[in-house]
């Protein structure tokens, strides 16, 4: 692979490599937290780590930030509607 081709390759593969590293690190954190259960409310930290992983996949692996604004809206729309489903159902279950 000539240095020119290697530079071209790195130019395209930079974001995927970063996303792989981040995801592996976050997964490691969650696995360690899950295995050791350091403190009682650890599920909140684990949920936050999962949220970061989801954002990493969306914005780095799927490169949503370089897509048209319309695509960005559609990628967020699904999560917003899941939020609606969860919050409205919880108003029933948590307040019983």
């Amino acid at each position: 692979m000539t240095p020119e081709e290697r530079r071209q390759l790195w130019q395209h593969m930079r974001t995927p490599v970063i996303s792989l590293g981040l995801l592996m690190a976050l997964l490691a954190i969650n696995v360690i937290l899950g295995a050791t259960l350091p403190f009682h409310g650890v599920w909140m930290l684990e949920a936050a780590v999962v949220l970061c992983m989801v954002l990493v996949v969306l914005f780095l692996s799927m490169d949503v930030s370089h897509e048209a604004p319309l695509i960005r809206v559609f990628s967020m729309l699904g999560f917003f509607w899941v939020l609606i489903l969860f919050t409205m159902t919880l108003t029933d279950y948590l307040a019983r």
Partner: protein, 550 residues
């Protein structure tokens, strides 16, 4: 038939260069060209034929239900048969007629025409959606033939999972599959409206019907998957004992109700929104006047598509729902009535100072406005907590949603069918018969369903095969009305089919209406427009000066 058609059919002779481009109807007549066509117009007509078949099935079930309710002691049918009849009426009418009726038929046919595109974004996906619809329909027909299902269209657990001994699983699979047809149609329309608009067709130059199609497609995408997973869980629980809602294990059947109504209330707006779009088109065209408050009506459609996801709890006020949830859902249900009110007031303002042609479509539109308003406000009654405690699951609810579905969406569908019939088939429907049909349906509908409001307030519960004798008089009135309504439905079918051969040839724009679909020939050429239109004019460009002064 004009000589050029005959020549075309005989493959032997060389094809003559005919003056007008062959329109989509007469271009090819092979079975393959119809059943494997990726032309959005032909797929629209395929949908029209299949939903009409299912409408007839559902209407027969409805007539038998009304027949059974003439006598209070329920001796005409057994209770099981009655339960299977009203379930089949519900399932077929909702998933196989109302939901596909305006989006899949008018939407498929008119969307590319209205935004100046050659076809929808994914024509092959469009054909696949139709065949997924047919597969789902087959499952439902099989369920009907082998013995029917008696759970009601709501399939509430644990009755549907453990206690019903009828064919629940085939019915569930049928509805799951037809759900995918809705999802793919919604996906196709969303992409088409975003990406396939012709040059100059900005969002605020699109007809309101396209706005409502966009809002409906958003609901298709955002709501249908949730009922798909809910029904899959029912199938899993009933077939394999993988119980998620099973109360004997500690599961909560109310959880199924949450998932079910998360879809089913927005599904009500899937059925209502396209109807509103059609009515806006009819009111504008037959008043020869710009839509009043175009932007408000457009934004109201999108507002409906989003707020409708916040109100499903008003179906569950009396099943032990927490008071906080009940109060929040009741308040939001009042808010969801505002966009509908905006539309109704804007229609009225559009008719004001227009130049009104009271043709058949306009009669349907006027009937729609009257009945839809009644339906909508009885919905507000049911959204009030204390009133719903009395009226929940009574005939008041049955009357409410029939006023919306039949008084609203059905009249809009028939109005739209008459309005765009020349564009679909190149033939005019007989005007006098059309008006008689509209009158028949309006009268029959009111005689059928207004007594049910009274029955509901008197306390007659819903889905009752045997009822106290004091309700018999009102039930007989309702059944009598049903016969008029059935005649009213049958009549347009007859004269519309008749008009296919003997109706007058339709000009490109019989109603002097604005809109891209009227700028091309009737029936339109296969690729809709000879050359891609350029839109540099406002929608509904009716002049403000009075055309008929003096």
């Amino acid at each position: 038939m004009s000589p050029s058609d005959a020549v075309m059919r005989d493959p032997g002779t060389a094809r003559p260069t005919i003056d007008r481009p062959a329109d989509y109807l007469h271009e090819e007549h092979t079975l393959r060209s119809w059943f494997f066509s990726t032309d959005h117009k032909r797929i629209g007509l395929l949908y029209l034929a299949s939903i009409t078949f299912f409408f007839v099935l559902g209407a027969i079930a409805a007539c038998l239900v009304r027949l059974a309710l003439i006598v209070p002691d329920g001796t005409i049918f057994s209770s099981d048969t009655y339960n299977k009849l009203f379930t089949m009426h519900g399932v077929i009418m909702i998933w196989f007629f109302l939901i596909p009726s305006i989006p899949a038929t008018f939407g498929n046919f008119l969307l590319p025409l209205m935004i100046g595109a050659k076809d929808v974004a994914f024509p092959h996906l469009n054909l696949a959606s139709f065949y997924i619809f047919i597969t789902g329909a087959l499952f439902t027909l099989i369920t009907l033939v082998i013995g029917g299902v008696d759970t009601g269209w709501t399939f509430y657990a644990p009755f549907s999972t453990t206690f019903s001994n009828t064919y629940v699983i085939p019915a569930l699979i049928g509805v799951i599959i037809v759900g995918f047809s809705s999802i793919l149609t919604g996906l196709n329309f969303v992409v088409t409206i975003h990406k396939m608009r012709c040059p100059g067709m900005t969002w605020f130059r699109m007809p309101i019907f396209v706005w409502t199609l966009y809002a409906t497609s958003l609901i298709f995408l955002l709501a249908t998957p949730v009922i798909t997973i809910a029904l899959i869980l029912l199938v899993m629980e009933r077939a394999f004992g993988i119980g998620v809602f099973d109360p004997r294990l500690g599961g909560d059947p109310v959880l199924f109700e949450h998932l079910f109504w998360f879809y089913s209330h927005p599904a009500v707006y899937i059925m209502v929104l396209p109807g509103m779009g059609v009515i806006t088109e009819l009111v504008a065209a037959f008043s020869q006047k710009k839509v009043f408050g175009y932007r408000f009506v457009a934004y109201a459609s999108i507002a409906l598509a989003s707020v409708t996801f916040l109100v499903w709890g008003h179906h569950m006020f009396v099943n032990g729902e927490s008071q906080l949830a009940a109060t929040v859902y009741s308040l939001l249900s009042f808010a969801v009535a505002v966009p509908s009110a905006v539309k109704v007031y804007n229609w009225t303002a559009t008719i004001h100072k227009g130049s009104i042609h009271l043709d058949t479509p306009m009669l349907y539109a006027m009937g729609y406005i009257g009945l839809f308003v009644l339906g909508g406000l009885t919905g507000l009654f049911l959204a009030t907590l204390a009133i719903d405690a009395h009226l929940h699951d009574t005939y008041f609810v049955v009357a409410h949603f029939h006023y919306i579905m039949v008084g609203g969406t059905m009249l809009a569908f028939l109005g739209g069918l008459h309005y765009w019939w020349p564009k679909f088939t190149g033939r005019m429907y007989p005007e006098a018969f059309g008006r008689v049909g509209a009158g028949l349906i309006f009268i029959g509908f009111n005689v059928t369903f207004f007594p049910q409001f009274i029955l509901g307030y008197l306390g007659m519960p819903r889905r009752y095969h045997v009822y106290p004798p004091e309700f018999q008089l009102l039930n007989i009135m309702s059944s009598a009305g049903a016969t008029i309504l059935a005649a009213g439905y049958f009549f347009p079918m007859v004269y519309l089919i008749w008009s296919l051969w003997y109706g007058k040839k339709a000009p490109a724009n019989p109603w002097n209406a604005k809109g891209l679909e009227w700028t091309t020939s009737s029936p339109p050429p296969t690729h809709n427009f000879l050359n891609t239109p350029l839109v540099d004019f406002e929608p509904y460009g009716y002049e403000n000066k009075a055309p008929e002064i003096g």
